[in-house]
Symmetry: C2
Subunit: 413 residues, 2 copies
């Protein structure tokens, strides 16, 4: 992508009402545009990060035989009344709207009930189980306050996944497999080392649900971890969990964390309340076991922005960066820059080519603010010596490389 064709520009300042660091940086660097508190549009760079995160998760979901779908934002009250989740007293984040004939509708904040309703069309017998579906869908949550930038939005993108099973054993086994898949996802996203599976409250079937929490100063949660970080417990369930695990809670130390994933076993609760069942091998109607698994896509993006940025701007991990290389063109070397751009692109490397008429200092500052992993400079002087200047986003020193050395360096990382 030629930068001269990109509609966004880096900004000196974020809107004065924006208090969250992640949104300040993402707005200044041109990844998101703030429509109102908790509601952000994703511009070209931001959408590229979002798609890269989604693609990693999509590959891992497909590998565990989960089928991609897209459910709807508009929801009928009947779908949610039967389980008691339509009322504001039970769920306080509903946005409501109305059809022309005054029929009340809700905007989906989650999809368990909607999924169960759809699945009853396809699941009749034990032969139709297990099943797993997932989606990347824009969720609407009518949050009272929205001050965490894209880490807690009123409109945000979520990967939500639902697995349906004939027995508790089958659900438990799949659920344990998803925990392994989630660990692989956070590894691939570059935050595996600082992400913990924790015991949390909120599961309606088992005593604890599981959360995936990443160490992050801007996080809203506190996690208690032991010395080697092999045990991590949410503050809200500290007493219960330490008792159950048989450990002294004073050996655990608090760290601030952000939730990046949340998984629940609903068991047969939804199936029984909604009367959606399957016929077992003897033809007897049995309730379906349900578990659900969430990852906030835009929340993960916000955590990466908060956690990995420095005083110069964003620092994207290689796997999610909107482009791998930021090519700084200095002076009149259009043809050589174009050749290099094409060589890199052909090698499967994504490049944003800063072909603008701007001072080198401006281009270097933008490269840092936007947070592209590899910076490559081409100039008349460098062309003359048949070299390129290379610097990674996180190192302070630049070095001179030939084109072949550059390709090898980027391929290695």
């Amino acid at each position: 992508m030629r930068m001269s064709k990109l509609f966004t520009k880096t900004l000196k300042q974020a809107p004065s009402d924006e208090v969250a660091l992640n949104a300040q940086l993402l707005i200044r660097a041109g990844f998101v545009y703030k429509v109102m508190a908790g509601v952000y549009a994703y511009t070209t760079l931001g959408l590229a990060v979002q798609e890269n995160i989604k693609q990693i998760i999509r590959e891992e979901m497909n590998a565990i035989d989960s089928n991609e779908v897209t459910m709807t934002t508009l929801q009928r009250p009947e779908t949610w009344k039967v389980t008691g989740r339509w009322d504001d007293e039970a769920v306080d984040v509903w946005f409501r709207t109305k059809l022309k004939d005054d029929t009340e509708l809700g905007l989906a904040w989650s999809h368990e009930e909607a999924i169960m309703e759809m699945m009853q069309q396809y699941i009749k017998s034990y032969k139709d189980l297990p099943r797993s579906v997932y989606q990347f869908q824009t969720k609407m949550r009518n949050e009272l306050r929205a001050k965490s930038g894209i880490m807690r939005g009123r409109e945000f993108v979520m990967k939500d996944q639902y697995s349906l099973h004939a027995t508790q054993e089958d659900m438990d086994e799949y659920y344990d497999g998803v925990i392994k898949t989630y660990k692989r996802i956070y590894d691939r996203l570059g935050i595996g080392d600082s992400t913990f599976v924790t015991f949390a409250s909120g599961g309606s079937f088992t005593k604890f649900s599981h959360e995936f929490q990443t160490i992050c100063e801007a996080g809203e949660d506190v996690l208690y971890v032991n010395e080697d970080c092999s045990i991590a417990v949410n503050e809200e369930v500290l007493d219960d969990a330490t008792k159950e695990l048989g450990i002294d809670k004073n050996t655990l130390k608090p760290v601030k964390t952000a939730e990046v994933g949340n998984i629940f076993k609903f068991g047969t609760e939804k199936s029984e309340k909604m009367d959606i069942k399957f016929a077992d091998a003897e033809g007897k109607q049995q309730p379906i076991y349900l578990a659900s698994y969430g990852i906030g896509i835009t929340r993960v993006m916000g955590v990466l922005a908060e956690k990995l940025s420095d005083d110069k701007g964003l620092v994207w991990p290689e796997a999610v960066a909107p482009y791998q290389v930021y090519l700084v063109q200095i002076g009149d070397v259009d043809d050589q820059a174009k050749n290099l751009y094409e060589t890199l692109t052909k090698a499967g490397i994504t490049v944003i080519w800063d072909d603008r008429v701007e001072r080198p200092g401006t281009k270097f500052a933008d490269a840092d603010l936007i947070g592209i992993p590899h910076r490559v400079v081409i100039s008349p002087k460098l062309v003359e010596s048949d070299q390129l200047e290379y610097k990674s986003r996180t190192s302070t020193e630049a070095k001179l490389l030939t084109e072949a050395e550059l390709l090898a360096t980027i391929a290695r990382l």
Copy 2:
């Protein structure tokens, strides 16, 4: 994809309240699930078709330097009040909702005003123009009636695109380029021959806007075309347009069509009403020219379903089919089927492998209903003779081919 892992099943009947042929077929074949009138979830097969349509359009959009973005569904009234499009009298398809503090919001049915508001952050001078952005976004339209299946939804996916220019000439030139791009898109989608650029009403800047209309019995529009189909005029502007073109309206004949694209020149209307301007070369504030360009993704999918289906089911064009090959496994040839599946996949051919324990007749009927372009049968008898049975969806005769012949046949089409 192994069919035994797919959660959808073909159904004997669509819901009794579903009157549109496109939705009846898509529900029966397992591409969509009806949530309520005009509101459909997209299951795995339907989502694959949607993504294929989007990818063709994405490639064509990027080729004309349009930047992909995602705007928001939640909209502030202020954005739309200034141009007079917030009131129900002006726009009768708004869905409304409210924040916890009773602030009224709207759900986006289009994005001209939202785009202009965002673009003012990045466009200050003539050097920042022209710009073009596009998105694939879920639109909400509170239609009084919704009886056309996925061809007219209350919640549906649209490609909407906006171009901003310093002069009318520049807008006109880009606009003409988009018409060429749209023609290429409909060609690639397999409906180029039966799609016309027409004069229509509704443009607020020029006398006529342009629509792209595809001949389709289920369409809501009537088009008047001349003998060689070089001129096509919407019924609503027949008198005006024929007068302007200097032709006898009696030489044009009516055909039923469905709108598959719609493009407008807003000119400086939005810019002036919203007071969003740019500085020209002399530093003088000037209004921005705006044009917008839409393609209903799910509508196009509905038109393809209506128009190309036969009495056995759906018939997808090669470029948008969820899979290219439907592999029918008959009997105990798991290993051979797996080998063939892998050979085809490695050759870049997408395959749905019907590995279910079902009668051959059921599998053949499902292959036809789902509408996959190429059907390949493998059975113990065929394995013995080192052959495969091949049939295209639209031919009535099957033929025997070796694996090499099969690969060549599919590659050729």
